[in-house]
């Protein structure tokens, strides 16, 4: 028979264990509830950039500066086998009925109602109060349910250790391991650092696009009425991918004018 003292001890220990997860959750990351980060991609400018690059290099699968910068910044490995090569941002070719081709980047849409977070059984995927959808690598069990749920194919699974496909490592970004799912974070480390310094954040892809002189990608806070992104969204008709699902994606596409 279990003694009362032992029973109380066990009860206390169980309660302490139940509270543990709250303490080690990545959700404790400081975030700003007032902000809502989003991105706009100008299809016309993206198409111009890609066509120029393809013409110059003759490589139809050339990675433009935004993709190269993202890979480097976020330690996204480069494996030859396309089927298992993780991609945080990739370029897609859209073709209309007349055979006209357009290019645009595909990345995590940081949805308002992210299906990936909805299905994640450990809450490893979660949405911060500023709208950034993140993955806690210490919680992810690698079940890949989120990959099935993501309407935008934005998630990659590490079939191999990412370090095998990296030439150099950026110590500022959490290094993933084999067996977990990863995706674009809107360069959350840059966002948090910029907010702390009181400057405007700029993800690596947006920075590369700007340096390249295209300025196709615009990142910013849509809760700030004076931000550049708010101005674009206010004054233009923009496209959201698969908007019929009601996930309210926060990567917008500015169609060719």
């Amino acid at each position: 028979m279990i003694s009362r003292r032992r029973f109380l001890l066990l009860l206390g220990a169980s309660a302490a264990m139940a509270m543990m997860p709250l303490q080690i959750s990545a959700k404790s990351v400081k975030s700003e509830a007032k902000r809502r980060w989003a991105m706009v991609a100008d299809i016309e400018k993206c198409t111009e950039c890609m066509k120029e690059l393809i013409q110059k290099t003759g490589n139809k699968e050339i990675k433009p500066p935004c993709v190269v910068a993202c890979d480097k910044e976020n330690n996204v490995p480069d494996f030859e086998e396309k089927a298992i090569d993780p991609q945080w941002i990739r370029i897609a070719k859209f073709k209309n009925k007349f055979g006209e081709e357009f290019y645009a980047p595909l990345l995590c849409n940081h949805c308002e109602h992210p299906p990936c977070a909805q299905v994640c059984l450990t809450q490893a995927t979660f949405k911060r109060s500023d709208g950034i959808v993140e993955v806690d690598m210490h919680r992810c069990i690698g079940c890949r349910y989120c990959m099935i749920a993501c309407p935008y194919g934005s998630r990659s699974y590490n079939f191999r250790d990412p370090r095998e496909g990296l030439k150099e490592v950026n110590p500022k970004v959490v290094m993933r391991t084999k067996g977990v799912v990863e995706k674009c974070t809107f360069c959350v480390h840059r966002v948090d650092e910029a907010i702390e310094k009181g400057v405007e954040p700029e993800p690596a892809c947006v920075e590369a696009c700007r340096i390249n002189g295209k300025n196709s990608l615009v990142f910013g806070d849509i809760n700030d009425p004076n931000s550049k992104i708010s101005k674009i969204l206010r004054e233009s008709i923009v496209i959201q991918l698969r908007s019929e699902l009601g996930t309210d994606p926060h990567v917008y596409y500015l169609p060719k004018r």
């Binding site: 089927a83 090569d85 990739r90 357009f102 069990i141 749920a149």
Partner: protein, 394 residues
């Protein structure tokens, strides 16, 4: 009415007994080794476009067998059908063993084994899988208690657990169906019919395999079983197989009716150049039509050997059904922007991709199934699971 049933342990000292143990142990070990190699060197055909394959399909497959076996087992307890009491212990044992195999499928399938406890520690109320983690573990406990109540021959408690177990089996299996069918971003997954279809499929596959298991167990242990009893099970099996066929037809026609999904539907059902087409039609022909005809055709429908064949055929083809449920929604590309063809330059998005399970993936599923039967063969020697004889009173 059946006579009182005496459950007796098997002797388990014959050469045949040890031979069966050796064969099953070999396949179980092969499955474990295949899994270890796959985990270390990525020997599956999974990719970022098809992240769920047949090891994942093993989860609903084994849960289906478990739920089906349990529902059949509980027939005697819930509806007081005395003559079915003869196999209630075997079926309850299989229900518990299959759920372990299902949990092992999850263990095999996940990428981070040492994060597995997170599935239990953290709970996400909006995740169906999260609820199922709770359902699966509690279901195993209920199965074990149900079996225990039977061993102790506690009539009222057995009946209580039988009712609870059936309710839980329906819950567990509907939940498993919902993991896939609530996936609204994938048109080929999304269907309200899947959870009820899972229940029907569970009973047919569980029952099919049970008929074969009963026949072979009684034959190898030189015990007597009433063919009429197997015939009765066979008729329930055939009826529900027809219901399954009906549900599959309704689903296919409904999807084909939607213009947006019609190209995908045509690809799935009418394109013989892809394995998906075969997984569906093999299920229809060898998993539904032939087993149904075997049971209803008088010359074969009363023969336990043919009934067993029908059961095995169907249970094997239900794996095909799981493949059909899980894979098409992944290999067929999603439409990101209606009216525009999309091709990714750096991934395989926008293309129809292939997924052919490798031998290492098959071995993992076969290994788990062998493990279940290995447990049964060992348990038959240690526990009073099998009746001495099952005959009906004249």
């Amino acid at each position: 009415m059946a006579k009182d049933v005496d459950f007796v342990k098997v002797d388990g000292s014959s050469f045949g007994y040890f031979a069966i143990i050796a064969i099953l142990a070999f396949f179980t070990a092969a499955g474990l080794i295949a899994h270890a190699l796959d985990r270390a060197y990525h020997l599956s055909d999974l990719s970022n476009r098809v992240p769920w394959g047949i090891v994942n399909a093993g989860i609903p497959y084994f849960i289906g067998l478990s739920a089906g076996s349990l529902i059949v087992s509980a027939l005697s307890g819930v509806f007081k059908i005395e003559r079915f009491k003869a196999f209630s212990r075997i079926a309850a044992f299989f229900a518990a063993a299959y759920i372990v195999a299902a949990i092992m499928s999850i263990v095999f399938d996940i990428g981070k084994l040492y994060h597995f406890a997170n599935a239990v520690i953290y709970f996400n109320p909006t995740s169906i899988f999260s609820w199922n983690a709770f359902f699966y573990t509690s279901y195993f406990v209920i199965c074990a208690l149900y079996l225990l109540a039977q061993f102790e021959e506690m009539e009222r408690l057995t009946r209580f657990f039988a009712c609870l177990a059936v309710f839980w089996a329906v819950l567990v299996h509907s939940g498993t169906g919902a993991i896939y069918s609530f996936m609204y971003p994938r048109e080929l997954y999304h269907s309200a019919l899947t959870p009820p279809m899972f229940i029907v499929c569970a009973i047919t596959s569980g029952l099919g395999l049970l008929i074969a298991t009963l026949y072979f167990t009684f034959r190898f242990t030189n015990r007597e079983i009433e063919p009429k009893l197997l015939r009765e099970l066979g008729l329930i099996f055939a009826g529900l197989t027809a219901v399954l066929g009906y549900m599959l037809a309704v689903e296919a026609l409904e999807k084909g009716y939607i213009p947006a999904v019609a190209p995908a539907t045509q690809f799935v059902y009418l394109n013989p150049y892809h394995g998906i087409f075969w997984s569906f039609w093999l299920l229809v022909v060898f998993g539904i039509i032939i087993p149904f005809l075997i049971v209803v055709y008088p010359r074969t429908g009363f023969d336990p050997r043919f009934l067993s064949l029908a059961g095995i055929l169907h249970a094997a083809m239900v794996m095909s059904e799981r493949f059909f449920l899980i894979v098409p929604g992944q290999v067929y590309p999603s439409e990101y922007l209606p009216g525009y063809e999309v091709e990714s330059l750096h991934t395989l998005e926008g293309y129809i991709v292939s997924y052919t399970p490798t031998i290492f993936e098959w071995l993992q599923v076969i290994g788990l199934l062998s493990g279940v039967f290995l447990a049964f063969v060992v348990a038959a020697k240690l526990l009073p699971l099998i009746p001495e004889r099952v005959v009906m009173e004249k």
